[in-house]
Structures are given as structure tokens and as C-alpha cells.
């Protein structure tokens, strides 16, 4: 967070920052809508809806402020990013989330392990997936058997 922004007057509006401003405004609107439609009374003046309205109000103001900074190009310069590693990691997490209760902890987490290693440029998958599954299985034994954490079991875990 040490990048400096060359705040030249001629910079074009920062479209990504404008999208953020819109997202903040939408968040504020969702809070207002959800609070306004909530059932259940609040006889007192400062009931359960006061704080949400206040926060939504502030978020609206911050959204407007963000628009100003985006137009002036006040956001820090961003490094060039590669999208592929992000997809690998997000895919790994999604795979683990969806498979956790089907294949058990070790296989699901092993896939996450291999996908993350792949995101950092380590392959091939036929090697990293087995490594990940074995490691996750060891982790499962330590934490589920040793520390009695509830970690979902699958076919592999039921072997012992």
C-alpha cells in the first residue's frame, strides 16, 4: 500500500473505481431495502433499524466520494495482474466447497492444494493432486482423530 498516485489532472476517469462506487451504492441500497421491509416492530425510537440506516447513509456518501476520486484519478496505480492464477485458486476453493461432503476432507482439500500449487506455477497436476490428497489425509488424521475437530469423512477417511 505504498504506491504513489501521480495525480495528474489529465488522467482519464478510473472505470474500475467507478464500478466500486456503484457496488458501494448498491450495498447501501440493499441495506435500506432489507431494513425497510423487515418485519417486527420497534416501538422505541432507536430500534434495530436505526444503525443500519445510519451505516447505509454513510455508505452512500462514501460512494459519492469514490466517484469524485475516480474521476480525478486519485486511486493508486495498479500493477499488472494475471488472471489465470486467480482462476486456479478460486476454482480450487470452489471444488473443495462442492466436493467436501461428497468425497470427504482429504480428496476435496487435496484438489485445493494442487490447484493452489498450479496457480503458483507448480505442476503437473497428476503429481500434485496425489501429494495434496496424502497431505490432507494426514491433516485429517491429526485434527479429526487427535483434536476431535469435525471434519467431513469420505471413502478414504472411512478406511481407518
Amino acid at each position: 500500500m505504498t504506491q504513489e498516485s501521480p495525480s495528474s489532472e489529465t488522467r482519464r476517469p478510473d472505470w474500475a473505481a467507478l464500478v466500486i462506487a456503484a457496488a458501494i451504492a448498491i450495498l447501501a441500497a440493499v441495506i435500506v431495502y432489507s431494513t425497510a421491509t423487515a418485519k417486527g416492530g420497534s416501538a422505541t425510537r432507536i430500534g434495530p433499524s436505526a444503525f443500519p440506516y445510519a451505516i447505509a447513509g454513510c455508505l452512500f456518501l462514501l460512494s459519492i466520494w469514490t466517484v469524485f476520486e475516480a474521476m480525478r484519478g486519485d486511486f493508486p496505480e495498479r500493477e499488472k495482474q494475471e488472471i489465470q492464477p486467480v482462476i486456479w485458486i478460486v476454482g480450487g476453493l470452489a471444488a473443495q466447497m462442492l466436493l467436501l461432503h461428497i468425497t470427504g476432507f482429504a480428496i476435496a482439500t487435496g484438489l485445493l492444494f494442487a490447484a493452489t500449487a498450479r496457480a503458483f506455477g507448480k505442476g503437473p497436476l497428476w503429481m500434485t493432486i496425489p501429494i495434496g490428497i496424502v497431505l490432507s489425509f494426514i491433516v485429517w488424521v491429526i485434527f479429526a482423530k487427535g483434536l476431535q475437530l469435525t471434519l467431513p469423512a469420505g471413502p478414504l477417511e472411512r478406511l481407518i
Binding site: 500500500m1 422505541t44 443500519p52 451505516i55 478460486v90 466447497m97 497431505l135 483434536l147
Partner: protein, 505 residues
């Protein structure tokens, strides 16, 4: 009873073999995560929360505190040998420390950092023990209005006062506050922002949010930026012992660093980074050999390292006495207390003195352990730095999800982890600070409670918030924390503030 009697009782707790073991595990883990770039004490404590759920509260808290202190020690090793700060509070150490290592004086640099951390940890923990009862006595007179004002002040200093943008700091804070709204309202039982999803009724777990923002967000951001090329680790050349000149140039910076770091940590003023920057510039000005600064001046390692440990101890002052977290790590430690049904604050000192004083005493014990762990065993920690990045981050994500699954093995919780992880990546990408989100999530509902309690007592009269002079002073300070930096940035002094940016931990 005075502090020393209480502290003696605390030592009786801390010296129990099991608690010594917890402290040892804590400092070892803490040093390891401090050394490893990419994971900090906040994340480690968050990961361990679900694991310690079934353990004894005193032991777990002692372990968390050990992690916190250990992280501060370990960060310096990475800074000195790798020139990549292991923690945000070790950025300054890298300036002089890495130069010393390149000049073949890595040993004395590590030694002055470790001994300086020890001296600072010792003095600052004693100061914590001495000052805490006084603040507790003072805080007992606080009503809801004062607490609310105090929390507003903490919000503003954590989010807006430091860092490179008031806007982005405040946005991060309000994001955290908005997330804190989710769930059942504690006073009326009404569900808010749950959208009919039963999983959301309990609210967003602090640990899930912290793990997602720190571990998943950080992994995504490092992977996307391709910042995992070969890094050069400086070998430790020469003896780790300091010579006479090193000692005579180090002891004053240690003491000055301590006295700069402790109050900054103790005031609700954000992370440990600020003290280290101040200490560095003080040493630069006072040094008899200012020409050495930038080329490996030992004062530039000794002072900031002492300051960063002292402010870690300082941060515990508002956390323990007022229940007010001023850094991400402190916020997660607060969640740790709450997990065991303990609420830090003046009442904790009255109701659970054995836990509070046992914790303070074990900090002193942990400090001794860290000196031993870090000086003779430094070579062992250095080896951690040679773990390839792909295995390191794959392992981090396995443990990050393990913690979440262990706390609540539901697909929905993992979905939240993924969503907040992507959020963490976006926040980093656009230069938003992370700590205010976490602090907002945990402190927001508490601030709302205090506000509504204050207004309930006054029967809805809002002027109750400014009835006491203490509350007025705190609120004025909160306004200053936002306005002064804005003016400074407008006048082109923003660079000073962004160099004081409180980033991750």
C-alpha cells in the same frame, strides 16, 4: 492489592506446566509465522480459534498472546535476511537490517533485534501490568455514552488517521460495519440482513472473515501479481554476538524505541508500524554517525524493533482494560476471549483476575522463551524461508479452509470464505486497508449496543452522548483523527501519513 501482588498470583498461573507448554507452542508458532512472509499473527490466531475451542481458556489465550509476541520477533529475521518484511511492522527493520546483512553483519543485526525486542517486551509488559489497574479503575466509571465515544474514536483512528487515503480507510471500516449488521439483533431479536438464510442468522464469523481476507486474499493477490520469483536470502555471516561498540550503540535506541512504541500501541491509534517509523527517524536524528543510515546503521535496527514489540504490548492495554481492539490481531484475540464467554474490560479484571494476570505474567515468560528461541536457534528459522512459494501458499490455503471447516463444516461457510477471499483480493488490488474491515465487524455490534443502551437510559435524548466531559473529549479526538489527516493530505503532506500506513497486522 497492588500490581505486583497480582502479578505474583499471575505467575502462579503462568508457571503451571500445561500453561508453560501453551506459551511455548504459541511463541514457536508465532516466530514461524513471523518469519514466513504472507502469514501474520492475525491470521494464525484466527486459524487456531476453532482448534482451541475445546481447550482451557487461560491456556488458549496464553498461546494467542505468545503468537502475537512471537510474530513480532520473527518478522525481524525475514526483514534482515530477505529484505522482504515478514510483517508490516518490520518494514523499517528491512531498511538498515538488510544492509547490515549484506555487509556481513547479519549476526549482530539479528542479535540487536532480538535483544531489543526482549528489552522492550520486558519493560512494556511491566508497564502494562502497572498501568492496567489504573485504567480499569478509571474505566469502571464509564457509562454506555463514554464507551460509545471510545469506540467511535477507535473506528476513526484505525480507519482514517493513518494510511494513504481517508476515503479508502473509511470505506473499509463501513464495509466491516455493514457485515456486522448481519444476523439477529441482540436487543430485539429481529433478524437483520439475513435474507431468509438460516446460516446468516448467527452473523458473519470474525474468524471466517479474517481468514478469508488475510489468507485467501493474500494468496490470490500474490499469485496474480507474480510476486514469487527467486528471492535472495542473505547467509548469516560472522558471529551472532554483538561487540562492545554494538552494545553501546544499541542500548539507548532500545529504551527510546520502547518509550515511543508503548504509548502508541496503548492509545487507540492503530498498528505497530507507526511507532517503528517514528523510532527510526528519532534514531536517525540523534545518531552520532548519521552518515551510516541507509548503509546499515545498527541504531536503525535496534530502535524500531524495540518500538514494534513495545507497541504490541501497548495494544494489549486497551484490549484488556477496555475491551477495545486497535489492530487486526487484537480484534481476533477479542473474538478468542468471546469464544470462551469472556468479555475483556474492567469487569474481567474483577471477575477473572487469574486469567488476566496469568496472561500478563505469561507474556513475560513468553518473552524469555523468545529470546532463547531467536538467538541460538535463528539458523533453524532461516530455513523456513527456503520453502518454495507454491508449497507455502498451498499449505496456507489448506490450513485456512481447515480452520473454517473445523468451526462449521458447512458448504455455505466455505462459500462465504471464498466470497470474502475474493473481496480481500479486490480490496488489496485497489489499495483498501484490511484491518478496518475486521475491526468494524467485531466492534460495530458492540458500538451499536452501547449507543442504544445510552439512548435507552436517557429515554431517547441524543444529548446524553455529550453529557460527560470524557465522552466529549473522545468524540472531539475522533473528529480530529479524520479531519487533520485530510488537511495534511490536501497540503501535500500525505507522504508522511502513507509511510505510516497501518496495513495488514
Amino acid at each position: 492489592m497492588d500490581s505486583f501482588t497480582l502479578l505474583a498470583h499471575g505467575f502462579a498461573v503462568a508457571m503451571q506446566p500445561l500453561n508453560l507448554l501453551y506459551a511455548l507452542i504459541g511463541v514457536t508458532l508465532g516466530t514461524a509465522v513471523g518469519v514466513l512472509p504472507g502469514i501474520g499473527p492475525a491470521l494464525t490466531v484466527a486459524l487456531l480459534l476453532p482448534v482451541t475451542y475445546k481447550l482451557d481458556p487461560a491456556g488458549s489465550l496464553i498461546m494467542f498472546a505468545g503468537i502475537y509476541y512471537g510474530g513480532m520477533y520473527g518478522g525481524s529475521t525475514t526483514s534482515i535476511l530477505l529484505n522482504t518484511p515478514g510483517e508490516s511492522s518490520s518494514i523499517v527493520t528491512a531498511l538498515e537490517g538488510n544492509k547490515m546483512a549484506r555487509a556481513g553483519r547479519g549476526g549482530p543485526a539479528l542479535a540487536t533485534a532480538a535483544i531489543g525486542s526482549f528489552v522492550a517486551g520486558l519493560i512494556a509488559t511491566m508497564a502494562l501490568a502497572l498501568i492496567a489497574p489504573t485504567i480499569v479503575k478509571f474505566a469502571l466509571s464509564f457509562g454506555p455514552a463514554e464507551y460509545f465515544a471510545l469506540m467511535v474514536l477507535a473506528f476513526m483512528t484505525v480507519s482514517a488517521a493513518f494510511g494513504d487515503s481517508t476515503l479508502r480507510g473509511l470505506t473499509a471500516l463501513f464495509l466491516g460495519l455493514a457485515l456486522g449488521l448481519i444476523g439477529i439483533d441482540l436487543q430485539t431479536g429481529q433478524a437483520r440482513l439475513a435474507f431468509g438464510i438460516p446460516d446468516l442468522l448467527d452473523g458473519v464469523e470474525v474468524t471466517t472473515l479474517a481468514v478469508a481476507l488475510f489468507a485467501v486474499g493474500e494468496s490470490l493477490s500474490v499469485a496474480a501479481a507474480h510476486r514469487y520469483g527467486e528471492e535472495k536470502i542473505e547467509a548469516i555471516k560472522g558471529s551472532v554476538w554483538m561487540n562492545r561498540e554494538d552494545w553501546s550503540r544499541s542500548w539507548k535506541p532500545w529504551l527510546r524505541g520502547t518509550f515511543i512504541g508503548f504509548p502508541i500501541g496503548a492509545m487507540p491509534a492503530g498498528g505497530a508500524e507507526i511507532g517503528t517509523f517514528l523510532s527510526y527517524s528519532v534514531e536517525k536524528q540523534l545518531s552520532k554517525k548519521p552518515e551510516e543510515f541507509g548503509k546499515g546503521a545498527i541504531e536503525g535496527v535496534a530502535g524500531p524493533e524495540a518500538a514494534n514489540n513495545a507497541s504490541a504490548a501497548g495494544t494489549l492495554v486497551p484490549l484488556l482494560t477496555l475491551g477495545l481492539p486497535t489492530s487486526a490481531t487484537a480484534a481476533i484475540m477479542l473474538a478468542g476471549f468471546q469464544q470462551f464467554g469472556l468479555q475483556p474490560g474492567p469487569l474481567l479484571f474483577a471477575n477473572n483476575p487469574q486469567i488476566v494476570w496469568g496472561l500478563i505474567a505469561s507474556l513475560l515468560v513468553a518473552n524469555f522463551m523468545l529470546l532463547v528461541l531467536n538467538l541460538p536457534l535463528v539458523g533453524l528459522w532461516v530455513r523456513l524461508l527456503s520453502i518454495p512459494r507454491h508449497w507455502l501458499y498451498a499449505g496456507i490455503l489448506v490450513f485456512a479452509t481447515l480452520g473454517t471447516i473445523g468451526a462449521n463444516p458447512s458448504t455455505f461457510e466455505l462459500g462465504m470464505l471464498l466470497a470474502f477471499g475474493v473481496l480481500g483480493y479486490i480490496l488489496r488490488r485497489f489499495g483498501y486497508p484490511i484491518a478496518p474491515v475486521v475491526v468494524g465487524l467485531i466492534l460495530g455490534p458492540m458500538a451499536e449496543q452501547q449507543l442504544r443502551r445510552a439512548l435507552a437510559i436517557s429515554q431517547g435524548d441524543p444529548t446524553v452522548l455529550v453529557h460527560s466531559p470524557i465522552a466529549v473529549i473522545l468524540l472531539i479526538l475522533a473528529v480530529c483523527a479524520v479531519v487533520v489527516p485530510l488537511i495534511m493530505r490536501a497540503r501535500g503532506k500525505g507522504k508522511v501519513l502513507s509511510s505510516l500506513a497501518a496495513s495488514e497486522d
